[in-house]
Symmetry: C2
Subunit: 271 residues, 2 copies
Protein backbone atom coordinates (compact mmCIF):
# COMPACT_ATOMS: atom_id res chain seq x y z
CA UNK A 1 0.00 0.00 0.00
CA UNK A 2 1.57 3.26 -1.16
CA UNK A 3 0.72 6.31 0.95
CA UNK A 4 1.67 9.95 0.92
CA UNK A 5 4.11 11.04 3.63
CA UNK A 6 1.43 12.83 5.63
CA UNK A 7 -0.80 9.74 5.64
CA UNK A 8 2.14 7.46 6.32
CA UNK A 9 2.92 9.45 9.44
CA UNK A 10 -0.60 8.95 10.73
CA UNK A 11 -0.59 5.17 10.26
CA UNK A 12 2.96 4.77 11.61
CA UNK A 13 2.17 6.77 14.73
CA UNK A 14 -0.98 4.68 15.20
CA UNK A 15 1.14 1.54 15.04
CA UNK A 16 3.65 2.87 17.57
CA UNK A 17 0.88 3.96 19.94
CA UNK A 18 -0.59 0.45 19.83
CA UNK A 19 2.73 -1.29 20.37
CA UNK A 20 4.53 0.45 23.23
CA UNK A 21 7.78 -0.92 24.73
CA UNK A 22 8.34 -3.03 21.65
CA UNK A 23 11.31 -2.90 19.30
CA UNK A 24 9.93 -2.24 15.84
CA UNK A 25 12.12 -2.50 12.76
CA UNK A 26 11.69 0.36 10.30
CA UNK A 27 11.85 -2.22 7.51
CA UNK A 28 8.32 -3.29 8.49
CA UNK A 29 7.01 0.15 7.58
CA UNK A 30 9.28 0.48 4.53
CA UNK A 31 7.88 -2.74 3.08
CA UNK A 32 4.28 -2.16 4.09
CA UNK A 33 4.11 1.35 2.68
CA UNK A 34 6.52 0.84 -0.22
CA UNK A 35 8.86 3.60 0.82
CA UNK A 36 12.63 3.91 1.20
CA UNK A 37 13.93 3.25 4.67
CA UNK A 38 15.44 6.73 4.69
CA UNK A 39 11.97 8.23 4.13
CA UNK A 40 10.58 6.17 6.99
CA UNK A 41 13.42 7.40 9.20
CA UNK A 42 12.44 10.96 8.38
CA UNK A 43 8.78 10.18 9.16
CA UNK A 44 9.78 8.73 12.52
CA UNK A 45 11.93 11.78 13.29
CA UNK A 46 8.88 14.01 12.81
CA UNK A 47 6.65 11.67 14.84
CA UNK A 48 9.29 11.63 17.57
CA UNK A 49 9.25 15.41 17.80
CA UNK A 50 5.44 15.48 17.81
CA UNK A 51 5.21 12.80 20.53
CA UNK A 52 7.72 14.80 22.52
CA UNK A 53 6.08 18.20 22.05
CA UNK A 54 2.63 16.71 22.69
CA UNK A 55 3.80 14.83 25.84
CA UNK A 56 2.64 11.57 24.29
CA UNK A 57 5.90 9.76 24.92
CA UNK A 58 9.39 9.14 23.77
CA UNK A 59 10.68 7.30 20.71
CA UNK A 60 14.16 5.82 21.03
CA UNK A 61 16.24 4.53 18.16
CA UNK A 62 18.16 1.30 18.55
CA UNK A 63 20.94 1.05 15.96
CA UNK A 64 22.43 -2.06 14.41
CA UNK A 65 21.23 -4.91 12.20
CA UNK A 66 18.44 -5.83 14.60
CA UNK A 67 17.69 -2.21 15.35
CA UNK A 68 14.54 -0.18 15.12
CA UNK A 69 12.52 2.12 17.32
CA UNK A 70 10.88 1.72 20.70
CA UNK A 71 7.98 3.89 21.85
CA UNK A 72 7.69 4.58 25.59
CA UNK A 73 4.41 6.30 26.56
CA UNK A 74 4.65 9.23 28.93
CA UNK A 75 2.48 11.83 30.58
CA UNK A 76 3.45 15.33 31.64
CA UNK A 77 3.36 16.19 35.33
CA UNK A 78 0.85 18.95 34.58
CA UNK A 79 -1.55 16.62 32.79
CA UNK A 80 -1.17 13.94 35.47
CA UNK A 81 -1.91 16.44 38.26
CA UNK A 82 -4.89 17.82 36.36
CA UNK A 83 -6.34 14.32 35.97
CA UNK A 84 -5.68 13.44 39.61
CA UNK A 85 -7.26 16.67 40.84
CA UNK A 86 -10.43 15.90 38.92
CA UNK A 87 -10.44 12.42 40.45
CA UNK A 88 -9.96 13.96 43.92
CA UNK A 89 -13.17 15.88 43.39
CA UNK A 90 -15.03 12.84 42.11
CA UNK A 91 -13.83 10.68 44.98
CA UNK A 92 -14.89 13.21 47.58
CA UNK A 93 -18.52 13.26 46.41
CA UNK A 94 -20.47 12.57 49.57
CA UNK A 95 -22.80 9.97 48.08
CA UNK A 96 -19.83 7.61 47.80
CA UNK A 97 -19.83 6.70 51.49
CA UNK A 98 -21.29 3.25 52.04
CA UNK A 99 -22.40 1.80 55.38
CA UNK A 100 -19.29 0.75 57.31
CA UNK A 101 -17.26 3.68 56.02
CA UNK A 102 -16.43 2.09 52.67
CA UNK A 103 -16.11 4.22 49.56
CA UNK A 104 -17.91 3.32 46.33
CA UNK A 105 -15.27 3.32 43.58
CA UNK A 106 -16.66 0.98 40.94
CA UNK A 107 -17.97 3.66 38.61
CA UNK A 108 -14.55 5.33 38.37
CA UNK A 109 -12.74 2.05 37.81
CA UNK A 110 -15.08 1.00 35.02
CA UNK A 111 -14.92 4.10 32.85
CA UNK A 112 -12.40 3.61 30.04
CA UNK A 113 -11.42 7.29 29.76
CA UNK A 114 -10.53 7.37 33.49
CA UNK A 115 -8.84 3.97 33.49
CA UNK A 116 -6.65 4.87 30.51
CA UNK A 117 -5.41 8.01 32.23
CA UNK A 118 -4.83 6.29 35.56
CA UNK A 119 -2.94 3.57 33.70
CA UNK A 120 -0.78 6.21 32.02
CA UNK A 121 0.07 7.89 35.32
CA UNK A 122 0.97 4.67 37.15
CA UNK A 123 2.93 3.22 34.22
CA UNK A 124 4.81 6.50 33.90
CA UNK A 125 5.98 6.26 37.52
CA UNK A 126 7.62 2.91 36.76
CA UNK A 127 8.72 3.45 33.18
CA UNK A 128 12.44 3.17 33.97
CA UNK A 129 12.06 -0.25 35.63
CA UNK A 130 12.08 -3.61 33.93
CA UNK A 131 8.60 -5.07 34.39
CA UNK A 132 7.48 -8.47 33.10
CA UNK A 133 3.97 -8.60 34.55
CA UNK A 134 1.40 -6.63 36.53
CA UNK A 135 -0.26 -8.48 39.41
CA UNK A 136 -3.56 -7.72 41.07
CA UNK A 137 -6.32 -9.36 43.08
CA UNK A 138 -9.82 -10.10 41.78
CA UNK A 139 -12.20 -8.40 41.14
CA UNK A 140 -11.85 -4.68 41.62
CA UNK A 141 -8.13 -4.54 40.87
CA UNK A 142 -8.52 -6.16 37.46
CA UNK A 143 -9.48 -3.14 35.32
CA UNK A 144 -6.72 -1.09 36.92
CA UNK A 145 -4.06 -3.77 36.37
CA UNK A 146 -5.35 -4.15 32.82
CA UNK A 147 -4.99 -0.40 32.23
CA UNK A 148 -1.42 -0.31 33.55
CA UNK A 149 -0.49 -3.49 31.62
CA UNK A 150 -1.91 -1.93 28.43
CA UNK A 151 0.55 0.94 28.69
CA UNK A 152 3.52 -1.23 29.73
CA UNK A 153 2.53 -3.84 27.10
CA UNK A 154 3.03 -6.78 29.49
CA UNK A 155 0.56 -9.44 30.69
CA UNK A 156 -1.30 -9.08 33.96
CA UNK A 157 -1.96 -11.89 36.44
CA UNK A 158 -5.04 -12.13 38.60
CA UNK A 159 -4.81 -13.49 42.14
CA UNK A 160 -8.12 -14.91 43.39
CA UNK A 161 -9.68 -15.21 46.79
CA UNK A 162 -11.54 -18.34 45.73
CA UNK A 163 -10.60 -21.52 43.89
CA UNK A 164 -11.82 -21.80 40.32
CA UNK A 165 -11.78 -25.01 38.37
CA UNK A 166 -10.86 -23.13 35.19
CA UNK A 167 -7.54 -21.97 36.62
CA UNK A 168 -5.89 -25.40 36.79
CA UNK A 169 -3.25 -26.03 39.48
CA UNK A 170 -2.81 -23.13 41.87
CA UNK A 171 -0.43 -21.99 44.59
CA UNK A 172 -2.00 -20.51 47.69
CA UNK A 173 -0.79 -18.36 50.56
CA UNK A 174 -2.45 -17.14 53.74
CA UNK A 175 -2.95 -13.45 54.34
CA UNK A 176 -4.44 -11.23 57.03
CA UNK A 177 -7.60 -9.68 55.64
CA UNK A 178 -7.10 -6.07 56.67
CA UNK A 179 -10.71 -5.17 57.19
CA UNK A 180 -11.47 -8.08 59.50
CA UNK A 181 -8.17 -9.33 60.94
CA UNK A 182 -9.15 -12.77 59.77
CA UNK A 183 -6.67 -15.08 58.10
CA UNK A 184 -7.79 -15.90 54.55
CA UNK A 185 -6.32 -17.63 51.55
CA UNK A 186 -5.44 -16.28 48.11
CA UNK A 187 -4.68 -18.35 45.04
CA UNK A 188 -2.69 -17.90 41.85
CA UNK A 189 -2.79 -20.25 38.89
CA UNK A 190 0.58 -21.98 38.61
CA UNK A 191 0.98 -21.30 34.93
CA UNK A 192 -0.01 -17.65 35.06
CA UNK A 193 3.39 -16.31 36.18
CA UNK A 194 6.82 -17.45 34.93
CA UNK A 195 9.60 -17.85 37.52
CA UNK A 196 12.03 -14.93 37.83
CA UNK A 197 9.44 -12.37 36.73
CA UNK A 198 9.78 -8.73 37.71
CA UNK A 199 6.33 -7.81 38.97
CA UNK A 200 4.45 -4.57 39.59
CA UNK A 201 1.56 -5.02 42.05
CA UNK A 202 -1.51 -2.84 41.44
CA UNK A 203 -4.70 -2.55 43.48
CA UNK A 204 -7.66 -0.24 43.82
CA UNK A 205 -7.59 0.69 47.48
CA UNK A 206 -4.93 0.30 50.16
CA UNK A 207 -6.05 0.19 53.77
CA UNK A 208 -4.58 -2.38 56.12
CA UNK A 209 -2.16 -3.69 53.52
CA UNK A 210 -2.98 -7.35 54.14
CA UNK A 211 -3.96 -8.11 50.56
CA UNK A 212 -0.80 -6.55 49.16
CA UNK A 213 1.41 -8.33 51.72
CA UNK A 214 -0.30 -11.55 50.61
CA UNK A 215 0.54 -10.87 46.98
CA UNK A 216 4.15 -10.14 47.94
CA UNK A 217 4.40 -13.52 49.64
CA UNK A 218 2.88 -15.14 46.53
CA UNK A 219 5.71 -13.58 44.49
CA UNK A 220 8.22 -15.50 46.62
CA UNK A 221 6.37 -18.74 45.87
CA UNK A 222 6.80 -17.98 42.18
CA UNK A 223 10.52 -17.07 42.58
CA UNK A 224 9.62 -13.63 41.31
CA UNK A 225 10.62 -10.14 42.36
CA UNK A 226 8.60 -7.15 43.45
CA UNK A 227 9.31 -4.03 41.38
CA UNK A 228 6.83 -1.83 43.20
CA UNK A 229 3.29 -1.34 44.47
CA UNK A 230 0.82 1.16 43.04
CA UNK A 231 -2.72 1.84 44.18
CA UNK A 232 -5.53 4.04 42.93
CA UNK A 233 -6.13 5.35 46.45
CA UNK A 234 -4.88 4.77 49.97
CA UNK A 235 -6.44 5.63 53.28
CA UNK A 236 -3.96 7.07 55.76
CA UNK A 237 -6.45 6.89 58.62
CA UNK A 238 -6.18 3.11 58.59
CA UNK A 239 -2.50 2.76 57.78
CA UNK A 240 -1.06 -0.06 59.89
CA UNK A 241 1.53 -1.33 57.46
CA UNK A 242 5.07 -0.45 56.45
CA UNK A 243 4.66 -1.09 52.75
CA UNK A 244 6.44 1.08 50.26
CA UNK A 245 3.92 2.08 47.58
CA UNK A 246 2.80 4.81 45.25
CA UNK A 247 -0.77 6.12 45.34
CA UNK A 248 -2.62 8.34 42.91
CA UNK A 249 -5.00 9.65 45.56
CA UNK A 250 -4.91 9.70 49.35
CA UNK A 251 -8.03 9.65 51.48
CA UNK A 252 -7.19 11.62 54.60
CA UNK A 253 -10.54 11.42 56.33
CA UNK A 254 -13.87 9.64 56.03
CA UNK A 255 -16.50 11.06 58.34
CA UNK A 256 -19.55 8.80 58.26
CA UNK A 257 -21.46 11.13 60.62
CA UNK A 258 -21.20 14.23 58.43
CA UNK A 259 -20.93 12.16 55.23
CA UNK A 260 -17.66 13.80 54.20
CA UNK A 261 -14.67 12.33 52.41
CA UNK A 262 -11.42 14.30 52.28
CA UNK A 263 -9.09 13.41 49.45
CA UNK A 264 -5.74 14.81 48.31
CA UNK A 265 -3.17 13.97 45.66
CA UNK A 266 -1.30 10.76 46.46
CA UNK A 267 2.42 10.26 47.01
CA UNK A 268 2.99 9.43 43.34
CA UNK A 269 3.21 13.21 42.93
CA UNK A 270 5.82 13.70 45.70
CA UNK A 271 9.40 14.66 44.91
CA UNK B 1 1.69 25.37 21.40
CA UNK B 2 2.46 26.01 17.77
CA UNK B 3 3.29 22.93 15.72
CA UNK B 4 4.11 22.25 12.10
CA UNK B 5 1.38 20.61 10.06
CA UNK B 6 3.09 17.22 10.03
CA UNK B 7 3.46 17.22 13.81
CA UNK B 8 -0.05 18.57 14.29
CA UNK B 9 -1.41 15.62 12.35
CA UNK B 10 0.35 13.20 14.67
CA UNK B 11 -1.00 14.77 17.85
CA UNK B 12 -4.51 15.23 16.44
CA UNK B 13 -4.68 11.60 15.32
CA UNK B 14 -3.44 10.52 18.75
CA UNK B 15 -6.27 12.50 20.31
CA UNK B 16 -8.89 10.99 18.03
CA UNK B 17 -7.58 7.46 18.66
CA UNK B 18 -7.88 8.00 22.41
CA UNK B 19 -11.38 9.47 22.21
CA UNK B 20 -13.47 7.24 19.95
CA UNK B 21 -17.24 7.72 19.53
CA UNK B 22 -16.96 11.25 20.88
CA UNK B 23 -17.92 14.45 19.11
CA UNK B 24 -14.84 16.63 19.08
CA UNK B 25 -15.01 20.25 18.00
CA UNK B 26 -12.23 21.30 15.65
CA UNK B 27 -12.00 24.54 17.63
CA UNK B 28 -10.31 22.57 20.40
CA UNK B 29 -7.41 21.77 18.10
CA UNK B 30 -7.41 25.21 16.48
CA UNK B 31 -6.96 26.86 19.87
CA UNK B 32 -4.53 24.32 21.28
CA UNK B 33 -2.22 24.37 18.29
CA UNK B 34 -2.74 28.03 17.32
CA UNK B 35 -3.88 27.26 13.81
CA UNK B 36 -6.75 28.43 11.63
CA UNK B 37 -9.81 26.19 11.73
CA UNK B 38 -9.47 25.76 7.97
CA UNK B 39 -5.97 24.33 8.45
CA UNK B 40 -7.26 21.92 11.07
CA UNK B 41 -10.00 20.87 8.66
CA UNK B 42 -7.35 20.06 6.09
CA UNK B 43 -5.34 18.10 8.68
CA UNK B 44 -8.42 16.08 9.58
CA UNK B 45 -9.14 15.38 5.92
CA UNK B 46 -5.69 13.83 5.55
CA UNK B 47 -6.05 11.88 8.80
CA UNK B 48 -9.45 10.68 7.63
CA UNK B 49 -7.95 9.31 4.43
CA UNK B 50 -5.06 7.69 6.33
CA UNK B 51 -7.43 6.09 8.88
CA UNK B 52 -9.49 4.82 5.98
CA UNK B 53 -6.60 3.50 3.90
CA UNK B 54 -4.96 1.96 6.98
CA UNK B 55 -8.24 0.32 8.16
CA UNK B 56 -7.94 2.17 11.46
CA UNK B 57 -11.46 3.54 11.38
CA UNK B 58 -13.74 6.15 10.05
CA UNK B 59 -13.92 9.88 10.79
CA UNK B 60 -17.30 11.49 10.28
CA UNK B 61 -17.93 15.19 10.15
CA UNK B 62 -20.93 16.66 11.94
CA UNK B 63 -21.76 20.09 10.58
CA UNK B 64 -23.40 23.00 12.37
CA UNK B 65 -22.57 25.27 15.30
CA UNK B 66 -22.09 22.33 17.68
CA UNK B 67 -20.40 20.27 15.01
CA UNK B 68 -17.07 18.55 14.88
CA UNK B 69 -15.71 15.13 14.09
CA UNK B 70 -16.41 11.65 15.46
CA UNK B 71 -13.90 8.82 15.16
CA UNK B 72 -15.32 5.28 14.92
CA UNK B 73 -12.65 2.56 15.19
CA UNK B 74 -12.81 -0.27 12.68
CA UNK B 75 -10.94 -3.37 11.66
CA UNK B 76 -10.75 -4.93 8.21
CA UNK B 77 -12.21 -8.41 7.72
CA UNK B 78 -8.78 -9.64 6.62
CA UNK B 79 -7.04 -8.40 9.74
CA UNK B 80 -9.82 -9.72 11.99
CA UNK B 81 -9.65 -13.17 10.38
CA UNK B 82 -5.87 -13.21 10.64
CA UNK B 83 -6.06 -12.40 14.35
CA UNK B 84 -8.78 -15.00 14.96
CA UNK B 85 -6.88 -17.70 13.07
CA UNK B 86 -3.84 -17.13 15.26
CA UNK B 87 -6.08 -17.39 18.31
CA UNK B 88 -7.58 -20.63 16.93
CA UNK B 89 -4.10 -22.12 16.92
CA UNK B 90 -3.32 -20.86 20.40
CA UNK B 91 -6.61 -22.17 21.78
CA UNK B 92 -6.08 -25.60 20.29
CA UNK B 93 -2.74 -26.12 22.08
CA UNK B 94 -3.19 -29.44 23.82
CA UNK B 95 -1.78 -28.35 27.18
CA UNK B 96 -4.85 -26.16 27.66
CA UNK B 97 -7.12 -29.04 28.63
CA UNK B 98 -7.75 -29.05 32.36
CA UNK B 99 -9.22 -31.95 34.35
CA UNK B 100 -12.98 -32.00 33.75
CA UNK B 101 -12.63 -30.91 30.13
CA UNK B 102 -12.20 -27.21 30.90
CA UNK B 103 -9.96 -25.07 28.74
CA UNK B 104 -7.32 -22.80 30.25
CA UNK B 105 -7.88 -19.34 28.77
CA UNK B 106 -6.47 -16.95 31.34
CA UNK B 107 -3.16 -16.30 29.59
CA UNK B 108 -4.91 -15.17 26.39
CA UNK B 109 -7.34 -12.96 28.25
CA UNK B 110 -4.60 -11.22 30.20
CA UNK B 111 -2.31 -10.24 27.35
CA UNK B 112 -2.96 -6.62 26.32
CA UNK B 113 -2.00 -7.10 22.65
CA UNK B 114 -4.54 -9.94 22.31
CA UNK B 115 -7.24 -8.20 24.35
CA UNK B 116 -6.96 -5.01 22.32
CA UNK B 117 -7.45 -6.92 19.07
CA UNK B 118 -10.33 -9.01 20.43
CA UNK B 119 -11.93 -5.80 21.69
CA UNK B 120 -11.59 -4.26 18.24
CA UNK B 121 -13.21 -7.24 16.53
CA UNK B 122 -16.16 -7.45 18.92
CA UNK B 123 -16.74 -3.68 19.00
CA UNK B 124 -16.61 -3.63 15.20
CA UNK B 125 -19.46 -6.16 14.99
CA UNK B 126 -21.70 -3.81 17.00
CA UNK B 127 -20.45 -0.45 15.77
CA UNK B 128 -23.76 0.52 14.15
CA UNK B 129 -25.74 -0.03 17.36
CA UNK B 130 -26.31 2.45 20.13
CA UNK B 131 -24.55 1.04 23.18
CA UNK B 132 -24.47 2.72 26.60
CA UNK B 133 -22.65 0.06 28.59
CA UNK B 134 -20.90 -3.31 28.34
CA UNK B 135 -21.92 -5.91 30.94
CA UNK B 136 -19.98 -8.95 32.06
CA UNK B 137 -19.64 -11.31 35.00
CA UNK B 138 -16.64 -11.45 37.37
CA UNK B 139 -13.82 -12.41 37.08
CA UNK B 140 -12.77 -13.79 33.75
CA UNK B 141 -15.12 -11.65 31.67
CA UNK B 142 -13.75 -8.39 33.08
CA UNK B 143 -10.66 -7.88 30.88
CA UNK B 144 -12.71 -8.72 27.78
CA UNK B 145 -15.52 -6.33 28.69
CA UNK B 146 -12.91 -3.71 29.48
CA UNK B 147 -11.30 -4.19 26.05
CA UNK B 148 -14.62 -3.85 24.22
CA UNK B 149 -15.65 -0.86 26.36
CA UNK B 150 -12.30 0.82 25.59
CA UNK B 151 -13.08 0.76 21.88
CA UNK B 152 -16.74 1.75 22.28
CA UNK B 153 -15.75 4.39 24.86
CA UNK B 154 -18.57 3.44 27.25
CA UNK B 155 -18.46 2.21 30.87
CA UNK B 156 -18.59 -1.49 31.70
CA UNK B 157 -20.54 -3.03 34.55
CA UNK B 158 -19.44 -6.11 36.47
CA UNK B 159 -22.01 -8.62 37.69
CA UNK B 160 -20.76 -10.65 40.66
CA UNK B 161 -21.47 -14.12 41.93
CA UNK B 162 -20.83 -13.03 45.50
CA UNK B 163 -21.92 -10.12 47.63
CA UNK B 164 -19.29 -7.48 48.31
CA UNK B 165 -19.67 -4.81 50.96
CA UNK B 166 -17.93 -2.27 48.71
CA UNK B 167 -20.67 -2.46 46.07
CA UNK B 168 -23.43 -0.87 48.18
CA UNK B 169 -27.03 -1.89 47.49
CA UNK B 170 -27.39 -4.63 44.90
CA UNK B 171 -30.09 -6.29 42.85
CA UNK B 172 -29.91 -10.06 42.56
CA UNK B 173 -31.39 -12.68 40.23
CA UNK B 174 -31.25 -16.46 40.21
CA UNK B 175 -29.63 -18.31 37.35
CA UNK B 176 -28.98 -21.90 36.37
CA UNK B 177 -25.26 -22.52 36.59
CA UNK B 178 -24.64 -24.31 33.31
CA UNK B 179 -21.82 -26.49 34.44
CA UNK B 180 -23.65 -27.91 37.44
CA UNK B 181 -27.38 -27.39 36.88
CA UNK B 182 -27.52 -25.74 40.27
CA UNK B 183 -29.47 -22.57 40.85
CA UNK B 184 -27.15 -19.77 41.94
CA UNK B 185 -27.43 -16.03 42.51
CA UNK B 186 -25.77 -13.16 40.71
CA UNK B 187 -25.62 -9.57 41.93
CA UNK B 188 -25.29 -6.15 40.37
CA UNK B 189 -24.66 -2.95 42.27
CA UNK B 190 -27.75 -0.77 42.01
CA UNK B 191 -25.89 2.33 41.03
CA UNK B 192 -23.70 0.71 38.41
CA UNK B 193 -26.26 0.77 35.59
CA UNK B 194 -28.64 3.60 34.72
CA UNK B 195 -32.23 2.67 33.77
CA UNK B 196 -33.00 2.54 30.04
CA UNK B 197 -29.44 1.63 29.12
CA UNK B 198 -28.66 -0.18 25.89
CA UNK B 199 -26.35 -2.98 26.94
CA UNK B 200 -23.90 -5.28 25.17
CA UNK B 201 -23.19 -8.47 27.16
CA UNK B 202 -19.67 -9.88 26.84
CA UNK B 203 -18.20 -13.05 28.34
CA UNK B 204 -15.17 -15.28 27.90
CA UNK B 205 -16.72 -18.68 27.27
CA UNK B 206 -20.27 -19.73 26.37
CA UNK B 207 -21.33 -23.26 27.22
CA UNK B 208 -24.71 -23.88 28.79
CA UNK B 209 -25.76 -20.24 28.53
CA UNK B 210 -26.98 -20.01 32.14
CA UNK B 211 -24.72 -17.12 33.09
CA UNK B 212 -25.70 -15.07 30.07
CA UNK B 213 -29.42 -15.80 30.59
CA UNK B 214 -28.92 -14.60 34.17
CA UNK B 215 -27.39 -11.33 32.96
CA UNK B 216 -30.30 -10.86 30.53
CA UNK B 217 -32.77 -11.19 33.39
CA UNK B 218 -30.71 -8.68 35.37
CA UNK B 219 -31.13 -6.23 32.50
CA UNK B 220 -34.90 -6.41 32.95
CA UNK B 221 -34.50 -5.57 36.64
CA UNK B 222 -32.59 -2.45 35.56
CA UNK B 223 -35.21 -1.52 32.91
CA UNK B 224 -32.46 -1.84 30.35
CA UNK B 225 -32.28 -3.38 26.91
CA UNK B 226 -30.07 -6.07 25.43
CA UNK B 227 -28.25 -4.96 22.29
CA UNK B 228 -26.40 -8.23 21.79
CA UNK B 229 -24.19 -10.92 23.27
CA UNK B 230 -20.55 -11.49 22.30
CA UNK B 231 -18.19 -14.14 23.60
CA UNK B 232 -14.53 -14.92 23.09
CA UNK B 233 -15.34 -18.59 22.46
CA UNK B 234 -18.33 -20.90 22.50
CA UNK B 235 -18.51 -24.67 22.75
CA UNK B 236 -21.05 -26.18 20.38
CA UNK B 237 -20.72 -29.62 21.98
CA UNK B 238 -22.49 -28.32 25.04
CA UNK B 239 -24.97 -25.99 23.41
CA UNK B 240 -28.30 -26.33 25.19
CA UNK B 241 -29.53 -22.79 24.81
CA UNK B 242 -31.30 -20.70 22.19
CA UNK B 243 -29.38 -17.51 22.76
CA UNK B 244 -28.51 -15.31 19.85
CA UNK B 245 -24.84 -14.37 20.16
CA UNK B 246 -21.64 -13.68 18.28
CA UNK B 247 -18.47 -15.65 19.00
CA UNK B 248 -14.91 -15.01 17.92
CA UNK B 249 -13.93 -18.67 18.17
CA UNK B 250 -15.94 -21.89 18.28
CA UNK B 251 -14.71 -25.00 20.04
CA UNK B 252 -16.13 -27.92 18.07
CA UNK B 253 -14.59 -30.74 20.06
CA UNK B 254 -12.68 -31.31 23.29
CA UNK B 255 -11.30 -34.83 23.54
CA UNK B 256 -9.92 -35.34 27.03
CA UNK B 257 -8.71 -38.85 26.15
CA UNK B 258 -6.49 -37.82 23.22
CA UNK B 259 -5.92 -34.34 24.70
CA UNK B 260 -7.14 -32.58 21.58
CA UNK B 261 -9.09 -29.36 21.20
CA UNK B 262 -10.63 -28.49 17.84
CA UNK B 263 -11.31 -24.83 17.25
CA UNK B 264 -12.63 -22.89 14.29
CA UNK B 265 -13.55 -19.30 13.52
CA UNK B 266 -16.69 -18.22 15.37
CA UNK B 267 -19.97 -17.00 13.91
CA UNK B 268 -18.88 -13.36 14.12
CA UNK B 269 -17.22 -14.09 10.75
CA UNK B 270 -20.37 -15.50 9.13
CA UNK B 271 -21.98 -13.69 6.20
Amino acid sequence: MKLRRSERMVVISNYLLNNPYQLISLNVFAEKYEAAKSSISEDVAIIKKAFNDGDIGCIETVTGANGGVVFTPAISTDEAREIAKELCQKLSENDRILPGGYIYLSDLLSTPAILKNVGRIIANAFKDKKIDAVMTVATKGVPLANAVANILNVPFVIVRRDLKITEGSTVSVNYASGSSDRIEKMFLSKRSLKPNSQVLIVDDFLKGGGTISGMISLLKEFDSKLVGVAVFADNIQERRHHLSYKSLLTVTNIDVRTNKIEVQLGNIFDS
